[in-house]
Amino acid sequence: MSGNVLIEVEGLSKIFADAENRVVALNDISLTVREGEIYGIVGMSGAGKSTLIRCINRLDTPNEGRIAYRGQDVLAMNRQELLAARRKMGMIFQQFNLFMQRTVARNIRYPLEIAGVPAQQADQRVKELLSIVGLEGKAEAYPAQLSGGQRQRVGIARSLASEPDLLLCDEATSALDPMTTQSILALLQDINRRLGTTVLLITHEMAVIRQICHRVAILDGGRVVEEGDVDSVFRNTRSEAGKRLFGVLPQQASEDPDTPSLRIVFDGAAAEKPIISRLSQETGVYVNILSANMNHLQGKTYGQMIIEKPKDPAENTAVIAYLEQQGLTVREVNIQ
């Protein structure tokens, strides 16, 4: 995942102001998206992520900063150049935003129509896209007749029609149930792999980031507070926002436990075995599990567990040593 730079954002700021209020939505944001990667921007609602992604294709205009798409300054583009650039950047939305008076096929056909693609060629392309998103039988249905997941598939197919090299996803799975979210994420991953489309997504769900993103930026109060490979950010998260999003800290500050704790990260490397039981057997220390959030994928364990930190320093050292020996990452979390 070290392709050429596709999108470069530099010192981006956006302020929403009226007579009484002044909201800094984006505060000096800088980040780089490379060709071929899935880049996730995560943050709580109100963190400014939607504004950020909308600035990339200039649905929103920042007050300050620079956005480069393949080295071209997006903010300096004239109308013609902007339309051409937008046709190379697909976008999908939380509310799908499909044309309700057009059939599925005609929704997908729209970008081809406005680009003046000949009818026969467009029909062919629509067929291909329907099969990419798995909606072969729904060509003549109207969006109102589809489920949420199917609607998002239409949105994806429509955004891919002009063969974009970037797909912007604005909370694309936030209106969907967990099962459907899984299938849409799998589709995005498949598109990224098969078509090589770079994906830039924003979400408030860390699970989405962990499941398909290569790199992540954590946004908090309009600033990037952490950025890097998903694995390393997940393992070593330092920011308050990161900890909350990863579930190390409870989402609500008032629910913080006052217990000093250890955070154990399962990144799929550790063998599948009852780690905590073994820990007690091997070290003679009985630990108290405060919370755990784990998934089992293909015989590997991903996720994290928060345990109470043993009060005796020697026991604490023994516990940490044992866990690290098992290939796990352990961090002391100084909760309060």
Binding site: M91, I114, Q145, R158, S162
Partner: protein, 220 residues
């Protein structure tokens, strides 16, 4: 009055009424539709904000809409004579009808276009649509059921205005009800004309609803 005498009178009235209503509605839309679109597009939250132009259009439309039709009809006599060749009569009245109705059409169209989900327009923008494509391929088609529903309402309203044509020497069911009914104390003529008007309005309304339902795909 006998049925044999009444029937041709009413038929003629229906013809005259439609002769005034249909062209007036079409011409009102030719002016009002672009104006309504402009109102949406040039608004502050529109795709091409033009604050001053938008305000001027708003003021002119509100001005025209606030003058009652019967007064506008009288005020426009000289202009009507200039445009239509004469100031009174069934044909001449089409001009004041259009002047009175196009601001109303503009507001109806504005309302319908505004109903189109902002997110849908943004999606079309994100796909690289030009402003013309946004209007012609997204805003109007997406608003079409609402536009048609509005057109039925506009037609009925103009049909109602034609009843005042008698004040300017025009014909139609309204004129028959007043000049050949009420003024001559022939109540059967007045009621027959009124019933014919009711039937016309029902036909337009029901047809409008049916077509709107048929072309609207927002519901299953």
């Amino acid at each position: 009055m006998s049925w044999e005498q009444l029937w041709p009178l009413i038929l003629e009235g229906v013809w005259d009424t439609l002769y005034m209503t249909v062209p007036s509605t079409i011409l009102s839309y030719l002016i009002g539709m672009p104006l309504g679109l402009m109102l949406v597009i040039t608004a502050n939250d529109g795709i091409r904000p033009k604050s001053a132009l938008n305000s001027v259009m708003g003021v002119v439309i509100n001005f025209l809409r606030s003058i009652p039709f019967i007064i506008l009809l009288a005020m426009l006599f000289p202009v009507t004579r200039l445009v239509m060749g004469r100031a009174i009569g069934t044909k001449a009245i089409i001009f004041p009808l259009v002047i009175s109705a196009f601001p109303y059409v503009a507001r109806m169209v504005e309302g319908s276009i505004r109903e189109v989900d902002r997110g849908v327009i943004e999606a079309a923008q994100s796909l690289g649509s030009t402003d013309f494509q946004l209007i012609a391929k997204v805003m109007i088609p997406e608003a079409l059921p609402s536009l048609l529903n509005g057109a039925a309402i506009v037609t009925v309203t103009i049909l109602g205005y034609t009843a005042m044509a008698s004040a300017a020497g025009g014909g139609g069911l309204g004129a028959i009800a007043i000049t050949k009914g009420l003024n001559l104390r022939k109540m059967d003529v007045m009621y027959a004309a009124a019933i014919a008007l009711v039937i016309l309005v029902q036909i337009i309304t029901i047809a409008g609803n049916k077509i709107t339902k048929k072309i609207d795909h927002r519901k299953r």
